[in-house]
């Protein structure tokens, strides 16, 4: 998973896939490992995904932040292949 070749859409897909695969709210450390991003870049992506309602931020009993996929996030993942093909074909 080379970051150099990944597009913005690919990175979003990787983050959301990590959350879907985990099947329970995920901690940022695990996301860092799965998304292969720096802490700062991951933070930017998470903020964007929260703002787009693709993920929701929660806190566990210990007060640690956790993230989980929303319905919009699932829809994005389901249609990702179409989105990527359309985006690449038209250079969007």
């Amino acid at each position: 998973m080379s970051d150099k070749k990944r597009t913005h859409l690919d990175i979003v897909h990787d983050i959301l896939s990590a959350m879907r695969d985990k099947k329970e709210p995920i901690v940022p450390t695990h996301l860092l490992y799965r998304s292969n991003l720096s802490h700062d870049r991951l933070k930017i992506y998470l903020d964007e995904l929260i703002q787009k309602s693709f993920i929701a931020e929660t806190e566990d009993k210990a007060g640690k932040k956790r993230y989980q996929l929303t319905d919009d996030g699932y829809k994005f993942l389901q249609n990702f292949q179409q989105l990527r093909e359309f985006t690449k074909s038209f250079g969007l």
Binding site: L9, K52, S53, F54, D72, K75, F76, N79, Q81, Q82, L83, R84, E85, F86, T87, K88, S89, F90, G91, L92
Partner: protein, 225 residues
């Protein structure tokens, strides 16, 4: 829009056997343009990303241009059926208004696509391009070669963007989009030559619809994913 005489911009040209077929070909292109608009807005909604907007708005304006043209052609055809001599003033007015709407909507659509292709975001630069292109489009309402040359220029920049994208992505879809737009560009060049021969007129319309069919093929590939 047919290449017209100096008096009435949409006077019939091209071979007689092609009358009506050109309208059907335009309708097919219009439907495909609408499908591209729907795809853009669907993917914009799914990705919650406005990167799809310029393509969507550009094709929406092109689609409205097709609608203006087809509505005008249908209205004129009905008046002609009632009798050309009784309705000559109405037919001329309809032709002029319909042609003006078609030119302004189509050129506006191409302006949106060209601004996107050139990645122009600076407001003053956008204003300059829009003002110049619309000024030429207004002249083009009474001079078909002007509007065709303007279309060719704007489409050339769009094709350049798609060429760069195809080189970068090197996917079948990206090359097919380039081919589709090159055919649409070629169709405008062919229509420019229509006064020389009817064959250019027919060729222009055929190239135009084939270009749109190629884009439909790309959409079909996307949906199958």
């Amino acid at each position: 829009m047919p290449v017209g005489s100096e008096m009435v911009p949409i006077a019939i040209s091209g071979p007689v056997w092609f009358i009506g077929i050109d309208a059907v070909l335009e309708a097919v292109s219009g439907v495909i343009a609408l499908l591209i608009v729907l795809a853009c807005f669907r993917y914009a909604k799914l990705a919650k990303d406005n990167r799809y907007a310029p393509l969507g708005w550009g094709f929406l304006l092109l689609f409205l241009g097709f609608i203006a043209q087809l509505t005008t052609s249908f209205a004129i055809w009905q008046r002609v059926k009632e009798g050309v001599l009784q309705n000559i003033v109405e037919i001329t007015e309809l032709a002029y208004v319909g042609h003006a709407a078609y030119v302004l909507l189509t050129i506006s659509g191409l302006i949106v696509l060209a601004l996107w292709a050139l990645r122009i975001k600076e407001h003053l630069h956008v204003a300059l391009v829009v003002a110049l292109a619309l000024f030429l489009a207004i002249i083009g309402i009474t001079s078909q070669p002007v509007v065709l040359l303007l279309s060719v220029t704007l489409l050339a920049f769009v094709c350049l963007r798609f060429y760069m994208n195809a080189c970068e992505q090197n996917t079948a879809g990206a090359w097919e989009v380039l081919v589709g737009f090159m055919l649409i560009l070629g169709s405008q060049l062919a229509l420019l030559l229509a006064p020389i021969s009817n064959q250019w007129y027919v060729g222009g319309y055929v190239a135009h619809v084939i270009g749109y069919l190629v884009l439909l093929g790309v959409l079909a590939q996307v949906v199958r994913k």
